[in-house]
């Protein structure tokens, strides 16, 4: 089969690889019909996430048709069914899964010993990601082996197109969880840093959940226009001070809830001088992440507010004003998304017409064009916001 394979920093290739096979009775094989390039794939592309190995198949946003199931799936999934595959692999049986904390499932990380050493305690297995999360082959491919397939799937109603359903596997529930964990009240101002795909989903989630006002922060005109269409007031951080504008919009009190939809790769520019310092340290391998957004959120958030972090961080950050966070009594909520905790509800909301996530797709291409589409997405060429690949 064809698959997009990581060969090193900025080196993704469309390779011919052997077909996946059932390895365990709870496995299924899915023929991929649509997959997407995620912002966190760019962290792998830039080699900022440790423990990637040449030969790893990338991709963790994918859907398709079940073509084979193991005996242990026990009828919970049948050949021919259409499914979205969530990026978090979960067993559904361990203590964390029973609590709904699927992204920290205690069972599915097959490199548990290594992850225990690095993280203290292992988290769930993830598709197409680092070997610290199991090193499972990803879904930017023609076929995918889905471990724990009896639980790790989202069935897609016939009424939904691939484009409407695909993002149930990651960016929609990620934006949704980011907003839900803010516990949005009708009086709240929610500020969202980053108008990429997750930021766009977070904007719409905050609007649906009834925030008083949603403020979106970015510097790319096309992304800001998409944010405004979703109901956000926008701030172009290249043009105006984020802190001053947010204070102006909140009567000097600061936003009640702040969402970081950027993560470890903040935009580097003279308007944000600390990012130049971070970038220099990152080059010298003295810091793994550029946490400008985190610093700004802690500074501008209203005391006793909530900081929600769906953006990916990989390791060590520097100069975090922890004293400010402590004295302001901020609540931090973060983590990889517990995808299936939200998806039954989100499928209903898509079917009812509350949201149609396909609005975010700006580019569709063949799987073979995937390597070049990584460059297009990374460089934001042709106003690219979201790429969908068709194997």
């Amino acid at each position: 089969m064809k698959a997009l394979v990581w060969h090193g920093k900025e080196d993704i290739r469309c390779d011919s690889v052997t077909d996946p096979e059932i390895q365990d009775s709870r496995d299924a094989i899915v023929k991929i019909t649509s997959c997407a390039i995620c912002g966190s794939d760019l962290h792998l592309f830039h080699n900022f996430i440790p423990a990637m190995m040449p030969g790893d198949i990338v991709g963790h946003e994918m859907m398709g048709e079940v073509v084979e199931v193991g005996r242990g799936v026990n009828g919970k999934l049948r050949v021919g069914e259409r499914v979205v595959v969530p990026f978090t692999i979960f067993c559904g049986e361990c203590e964390q899964c029973r609590r709904g904390n699927y992204s920290v499932c205690e069972t599915t990380n097959r490199n548990k010993a290594m992850a225990d050493k690095v993280f203290g305690h292992a988290t769930a297995g993830l598709f197409g990601y680092t070997h610290l999360t199991g090193g499972y082959p990803g879904g930017q491919a023609q076929y995918l082996r889905v471990p724990y397939a009896d639980t790790t799937h989202i069935k897609v109603p016939d009424s939904l197109s691939d484009e409407q359903a695909l993002f149930l596997g990651d960016i929609l529930p990620t934006g949704w969880q980011a907003a839900v964990q803010c516990d949005i009240q009708p009086t709240d101002t929610v500020a969202i840093w980053g108008c990429g795909p997750v930021g766009q989903m977070a904007i719409r989630s905050a609007v649906l959940l009834g925030a008083r006002q949603v403020v979106a922060i970015d510097c790319l005109p096309e992304r800001l226009s998409m944010a405004r269409a979703g109901g956000a007031i926008t701030i172009d951080f290249e043009e105006e001070s984020v802190v001053e504008r947010l204070n102006e919009l909140t009567g000097g009190k600061g936003p009640d809830k702040c969402i970081d939809a950027i993560g470890m790769e903040s935009h580097v520019g003279l308007s944000q001088p600390d990012t130049i310092y971070d970038r220099a340290k990152q080059m010298m391998m003295l810091e793994s992440d550029r946490p400008h957004v985190l610093r700004e959120m802690i500074y501008v958030c209203r005391p006793a507010g909530v900081i929600s972090i769906p953006g990916v961080y990989s390791g060590l950050v520097d100069k975090i004003p922890m004293g400010v966070a402590m004295n302001k009594g901020l609540t931090f909520r973060m983590g990889q998304t517990h995808v299936n905790r939200w998806t039954d509800d989100l499928v209903r909301r898509i079917e009812e017409g509350q949201i149609d996530p396909s609005f975010v797709i700006t580019h569709t291409a063949r799987l073979e064009d995937g390597p070049e589409m990584y460059n297009v997405f990374r460089d934001k060429r042709d106003s690219c916001v979201k790429v969908v690949l068709k194997p």
Partner: protein, 197 residues
């Protein structure tokens, strides 16, 4: 490389049969080559400045060569990073300093004038390569044309106004609630929401 990549696969996981075109272009590979060259030259200048000044007839200028070595290493690290275009332009600027310094060694009374001339030719050649590669990278990564207007992509099939608060029926999980207010807050006036584009 493919053999090594396949060796590290978990049993049963897909293995590479043949590789296809890469996302890395020829200019990216050239930038990497120049970055490694910069690191090598920088290390040589830092560790063996006496050999370099002797070969060029520039004895007594070892501290300057060491400083240039540090500059080369910084430019090399940048050229190997995702900001390689910046790294290459910093190399071009550094090449200018090298040319100016070598011009000083072209004086008539320098017995190593021939070596200095060869070094000058080499630096001029590398400068052209640096500038050409940096320019090609700029062309590759630059955002061109007018940004598109996505003002019609609300994502709400029923419209923005009907969607505000439409999901207030969500039963929020207890573990994701903020601390409740001790007394109910006074309601604030509704803001003027921006109109959808």
């Amino acid at each position: 490389m493919t053999y090594l990549a396949n060796m590290s696969r978990n049993e049963g996981d897909p293995r590479i049969l043949s590789t296809g075109p890469s996302s890395l272009g020829s200019q990216d590979r050239m930038a990497r080559g120049l970055g490694w060259f910069s690191l090598g030259l920088g290390l040589a200048e830092l560790l063996a400045p006496h050999s370099i000044t002797r070969a060029l007839g520039m004895e007594g200028r070892e501290d300057l060569v060491r400083a240039y070595g540090a500059r080369e290493i910084a430019a090399g690290v940048m050229s190997l990073s995702v900001d390689r275009e910046l790294g290459l332009w910093s190399r071009v600027a550094g090449d200018g300093l090298d040319v100016a310094t070598l011009m000083g060694a072209m004086r008539e009374d320098n017995p190593k004038r021939g070596n200095a001339a060869a070094a000058l030719a080499l630096v001029l050649g590398v400068t052209l390569l640096d500038a050409a590669t940096a320019a090609s990278l700029r062309g590759k990564t630059r955002r061109s044309g007018r940004p598109r207007d996505y003002g019609n992509r609300s994502g709400y099939p029923k419209g923005l106004s009907a969607s505000r608060g439409a999901a207030r029926d969500l039963v929020k999980p207890d573990d994701m609630r903020a601390a409740p207010a001790v007394t109910p807050p006074p309601s604030r006036p509704e803001p003027a929401h921006p109109r959808p584009m």
